[in-house]
Symmetry: C2
Subunit: 346 residues, 2 copies
C-alpha cells in the first residue's frame, strides 16, 4: 500500500481529467466523488477509476464534454439523457434537479439513461439529505455478475440501493449498498491477500459452493444478499433504474459500452408531513437511541452511515492507502498524459 | 385444519364486522383484504384477524365508524390522520389518493398516522400497479419484536416493505415482506407443529442461538433479514413509516394501542419516463426471461409475486384451510354477536 495525502490524490486526479479535456469544474467534482469514496472506506469505488475512466475516454465510450439534457419534464419529475458523459456529472444534475423539485413540489422523481458508471451512490443521497431532503436511489448496472435467487449464471449487475434522511446531530443516516451479498471489490481485496472468501458470497460456474476470490473470472457469480428478500430488492432496482429509464438491463446480452448505469431517484420534502424540524429532531433522537443500544458480546450496534463517517475522519488525518497496482496505473497514466507526478507529489 | 369455501369465509367476516357497527361497504373491503391474504398464502395476515380486530373494537382501540382525514395536502402529497379506524380503511384511502395524484402530478408521496394494523401491505401496491402506477410502500409497526443488527433485545417491529410495478402479462411483480428474517406468523406455524426453527431466525433472551419457535414469548427476538443490509432497510422503514408520519416508533416503550402502523407510500407514473406501454412491455419481457432462467438442481427461479399468484389460483379452487384454533375463535365470536354460523355455512 502507498499512503497518499488526500489533497495530493485530489490534485493528481484533477490534472488527469483536465488533461483529457474535462473542464476544471467537471474534473473537480468527478475527482471529489472518487476521493470521497476512498475516504469513506469504499475503495472499490475510489481512485482506481482514474485509470478505468481514462480507458473509457480513449475507447470513445465516455464523452468528456457532452452535457446531460432533460428530455421530459413536469413540476415533480424529470427524465434525463446523460449523453454518455461522466456518470457523476449526470448524477449530479439528477440529484440537483430532484432536490429543487422536492423543495418546490414537495415530492419528485428523476430518472436518467445513457449514463456511464456514476460511482458511489451514497454521495448523492447524502448530499440531498444535507439539503433537508429525504431520498431513495436505485441504480441498475447493465453488466451482469450477480445471479437471481436459485438461479444459475450472471443475470443482473450489483444493482445498488441507497437511502438517506436529514439529521442535525453527529450521527448521519445513510444506507448505501450493492444488492449482492458483497460488492465485487471485496473479492479483489481478498484475491490480493490470497485469502479465501465466505461460502455464502458466490457460486462457481457450475453453481457449486465456492470460497475462491477469483471465481468471477472463472465464470462464477455473486449471490443476491438476504436470500429471496434481497433478490426482491435487486429486481426492484433493475425495474426502476433500468426498465423505467430505458437503460440497458442485465440479461440483455449486450456488452458495450461497459457498465452503463440507469438511475432513478425519489425525493421527499419532510415539510409535506411532520415538517423538517420535527423530523430531524426525532430522527436524531432515534439514531442516538439505536447507537447506544446494548450489543451482543464483542459486537457494536452501528447506525448505517456511521462506519463511513468514522473511516472518513481517520483517513482525512492519516491519508488514503492506495494499493501498489492502482498507484502504478495512476503513475503510468500520468506519464502518458505528460503529467509530472513526482513534482506534484512533492 | 378446517377447509372453508372462500365465499363462506367472506360472508361470515362481513356479518361479523357489520354486526359490530361497520358499514356494509367498509366491512366488505376489510374482509376482502383479509381473505385475500389467506388466498395468497399469507395466513398470518388473514382471517385470524376477525377475532383480533373484534377485541380491539371492544377495547376501544379501533373505531369502526371513524373516518381517515387528509390534514395537509399539495398536488403531489397528502398527510392523513387515520383517526384509529380500521387500518385497512385508512390504507385504502392512502393508496387511492396516491394513485390519483400520481396520475395527475406524475409522482406522489402520501403518509398516514393514527392507523390500526393495516394487514398485508402487498394488497395496496398490487392495486396501484393494476391502475398503471409504480409504488413503494413502507410500514413501521410500533410494536417491537425485532432486534437491530448486532443488538440485544426487541427494538423495531417487523417493518414491512413492498414494491410493485404494472405488468400486462401472466407474471405479476410484487415484492412484499417483513424486514425481519421471517414474519412472526412463521414461528406460530412451527410452534403449532412442534417443529424447530432455523437458527438464523431468532435469538433467545440472552442473545444466544435459538431453534425454539416459542422464543418470542420467552423474551427472545427476531433478527433483521440479510445481516446489516436488511437492517438498513428495516431502519429506512422506521424513519419513513414512523418518524416522517409521526407514528409511534419501536423503541418508544409505549404498548397501547397494540400494533399501530405508520404508512408511507411513494407512487410514480411511468408516463413521466419511458411511458406506461413501453414500461409494461419491457417489464413483461424481463419477467418472462427471469422466470425461465436456469435454476440450481432441485430449485426453481420465481419472480416475486409468483408464489402468491399460484397459491391464490389453488385456494380459489380448493378453499382455505383454517387452523382449528382460529376457526374456534370465529365460531365463539359468531355466538357472542348472535350470528347463526351453522345456517350461513350451509
Amino acid at each position: 500500500m502507498i499512503n497518499v495525502p488526500v489533497d495530493k490524490l485530489t490534485e493528481l486526479g484533477i490534472e488527469i481529467f483536465t488533461k483529457q479535456g474535462a473542464t476544471l469544474e467537471r474534473a473537480t467534482f468527478l475527482v471529489e466523488t472518487l476521493v470521497e469514496a476512498n475516504l469513506t472506506g469504499h475503495d472499490s469505488h475510489g481512485v482506481h477509476y482514474y485509470a478505468r475512466y481514462s480507458e473509457r475516454i480513449r475507447e470513445g465510450f465516455l464523452k468528456v464534454d457532452a452535457d446531460p439534457v432533460v428530455v421530459k419534464e413536469t413540476p415533480g419529475t424529470a427524465y434525463i439523457n446523460g449523453n454518455w458523459t461522466f456518470g457523476q456529472i449526470t448524477a449530479k444534475k439528477l440529484v440537483e434537479v430532484a432536490v429543487d423539485k422536492a423543495k418546490e413540489n414537495m415530492v419528485s422523481a428523476v430518472g436518467a439513461y445513457n449514463c456511464n458508471h456514476i460511482g458511489r451512490i451514497g454521495y448523492y443521497t447524502d448530499w440531498a439529505a444535507k439539503q433537508g431532503i429525504i431520498s431513495t436511489f436505485y441504480v441498475n448496472v447493465g453488466h451482469p455478475i450477480v445471479s437471481v435467487h436459485n438461479g444459475l449464471g450472471k443475470t443482473f449487475g450489483t444493482n445498488p440501493y441507497s437511502a438517506s434522511v436529514p439529521t442535525s446531530g453527529d450521527t448521519p443516516f445513510l444506507v448505501d449498498y450493492a444488492t449482492s451479498v458483497v460488492a465485487a471489490g471485496k473479492l479483489s481485496v481478498a484475491a490480493a491477500k490470497r485469502a479465501k472468501i465466505p461460502k455464502h458470497w458466490t457460486k462457481d460456474q457450475y453453481g457449486r459452493e465456492n470460497d475462491d476470490p477469483t471465481v468471477l473470472r472463472q465464470g462464477g457469480w455473486l449471490l443476491p444478499f438476504g436470500m429471496y428478500k434481497g433478490y426482491g430488492l435487486q429486481m426492484v432496482v433493475e425495474l426502476l433504474g433500468g426498465v423505467l429509464t430505458s437503460s440497458r438491463i442485465g440479461p440483455s446480452g449486450i456488452e458495450i459500452p461497459p457498465s452503463p448505469n440507469g438511475i432513478f431517484m425519489m425525493a421527499v420534502n419532510p415539510d409535506a408531513f411532520v415538517g423538517l424540524e420535527e423530523f430531524t429532531k426525532n430522527t436524531d433522537t432515534l439514531l442516538e437511541q439505536v447507537k447506544n443500544w446494548p450489543a451482543r458480546g464483542g459486537e457494536r450496534v452501528m447506525v448505517p452511515g456511521m462506519p463511513e463517517k468514522e473511516t472518513k475522519e481517520k483517513r482525512l488525518r492519516e491519508g488514503v492507502d492506495v494499493p501498489e497496482t492502482t498507484w502504478g496505473e495512476i503513475l503510468v497514466l500520468c506519464e502518458e498524459l505528460g503529467i509530472d507526478a513526482d513534482a506534484m507529489l512533492k
